[in-house]
Assembly symmetry: none
Homo-oligomer: 405 residues x 2
Amino acid sequence: MRGEELIGVIGGLLERNGRRILLVVADGIGGLPMEPGGPTELEAARTPNLDALARVSSLGLLEPVGPGITPGSGPAHLALFGYDPVKFNIGRGVLEGLGIDFRLTPRDVAARFNFATADRAGNLTDRRAGRISTEENRRVVGKLRAGLEAPAGTELFIETVKEHRGLLVLRGDGLRGEIHDTDPQALGVPPLPARAVDPAAERTADAFNRVIGQAGRILAGEERANTILLRGFARYEPLPTMEDRYGLRAFAVAQYPMYRGLARLVGMTVAPQTASAEEDLAALASNAGGFDFFYLHFKKTDSRGEDGDFAGKVAAIEELDAMVPRLLALEPDVLAVTADHSTPCALAMHSWHPVPLLLRSPYCRGGRGRFTEAACAGGALGLRPSVHLMPILLAHARKLAKFGA
Amino acid sequence: MRGEELIGVIGGLLERNGRRILLVVADGIGGLPMEPGGPTELEAARTPNLDALARVSSLGLLEPVGPGITPGSGPAHLALFGYDPVKFNIGRGVLEGLGIDFRLTPRDVAARFNFATADRAGNLTDRRAGRISTEENRRVVGKLRAGLEAPAGTELFIETVKEHRGLLVLRGDGLRGEIHDTDPQALGVPPLPARAVDPAAERTADAFNRVIGQAGRILAGEERANTILLRGFARYEPLPTMEDRYGLRAFAVAQYPMYRGLARLVGMTVAPQTASAEEDLAALASNAGGFDFFYLHFKKTDSRGEDGDFAGKVAAIEELDAMVPRLLALEPDVLAVTADHSTPCALAMHSWHPVPLLLRSPYCRGGRGRFTEAACAGGALGLRPSVHLMPILLAHARKLAKFGA
């Protein structure tokens, strides 16, 4: 069954009860050997707690989006939450907004922008404005905030993201996101105008063009960041919530804004920003009564993977392992430990490889002695698309009635 | 994701680079024990090279068309090449043409035929003309070639296949393949006329009926092969090419015409006929520079499987194993060894069993000590439809960009 067909069937079987599910997303935990025949990060790590858990849990592998497909964090998380990541394709501008904790509303169209450098004739000489520092970005954004006037009928928000990157949001009634990028992806030519792909987006494109024009005048004296290039225009459209789809009241704990934003997108209640494992665990503990689904995001495994830092990722895995007793002390009825995608140090980036999955409930078929990719490959849950996880979690929480008689 | 939806997603992520993929199809290599508890052909074979490779490769199982479905060579190969074999259903007549290296064109409708015996009243007494020899087939085909006149607006081709079997092709504008078989599948009745299933095929059916009528008159004096029964009418429609779908320039090496024909059908450049492993390897080596995808077909494993010759199939596997060092010497960036379908000696025919898959690249999760069905069943790649293979090969060749952010 495909993702949304499956969810349709599940929707007819939902039963509410007090049982609680804890989903721990160890971002990028899936790995690779650094050389042929070597251990993966999970194999190299000392993980006594995860291994003990593995012996009484069911193991498996999840494939985030599809075979060979390396997912971004957005689609990879949506798949874990049971949303078909191809059907629910979130625009880049919206993801950028989620990534800096900008509270988007359904009246918003968001676009990512780069500061860029143009010559006197208006032709681009640097599409990233010499990769200005975040500090300089803040200064220039401050200048724009002071000078820009929102087009009639809209509110305007402009935010620093990092280095030469920023976020531009227009808020208003009837705005649309079907607009082509203004980045021509070439030097020696001027930026493209924002152009509506759908006639319904023409008014919005005009509004963005007025902002771009103003920005050029305000930044005329800047040596490097004297123009902006917009891309990934997208309207914020919240998804059907996890309550709508699964009858779950869901609570999210994450140290990084992107993941809080993704949780909000599917209707989770989101804990205030945390900054340590202590705070993560405290946020979960103090909200244990009010919710029946808990999403905990653990970032370090992905960060060290992106760095290509094998020892660092091994250490991050061991940190996660050390949290396990305290996660178990929260007494979830169902506990899953998995990842949104793999981030092997050998690649120093997200990869297409399936992710390990550990699922503990009173209804598990035998586990294996370790929590590794290889043990998961032979596990009771087999290899499956990530969108299968939510129905399996619901079943282990006894929240799904029998199908047919 | 289903086959063609998956290919749609992949299509948006393609990145060209110089990395080269080598796909070795060991036809029918998947097997079965001859008695319960016994070894499969792969388990019985001494395969030091494949086993060494397995230790640094990812293993898995591929299911060619679907659970329980025993595929012909056509759909089984299409699935390996990433073409949904149910959607791209190639007509039997076309497959027969591919199998004898007949160069079909998009203006061709091809049908398989049997020579058959009818009595004076025109009722069938033997639907296979006493299984005449290939030699006799050639003599009778020669007589038909000399006597048949192509219907107006068409060219006519008639070819010996083997024993009582042949191929009849009409070439012309607007010909259609939606025509019922003329074989009544019974004795004591006359052949059926070629009858259009779709009104658009009526003109083509009439043309074939005129050919059948002429053939009856020409063969009236024959004792056994005095009529022909046609089936599997199909128009040749080349598929979207592998270049279209994957951005791959693909090169094929195969000793048997069927496989060269299947490769041509998906737009591969096909090496001239080879007749030994030496020639196969030479053809690959001398074309290594011009292409980025290489398909090598290895036939003996299937032939000995079809014969039910266990020792022969084991020897064929060992022959393949001996080729491995020279395949590695070609330095493909990604190497896959798998099969189109299983051909267990215990069945002496194609079977529905999934086929073993070995994939070597720098990005593989640990392998297992042997290349056998059982090792593959617990492998990192899991059990998947064969149409998943191409996206995974593309990913390992770093030819797919990230999906979403």
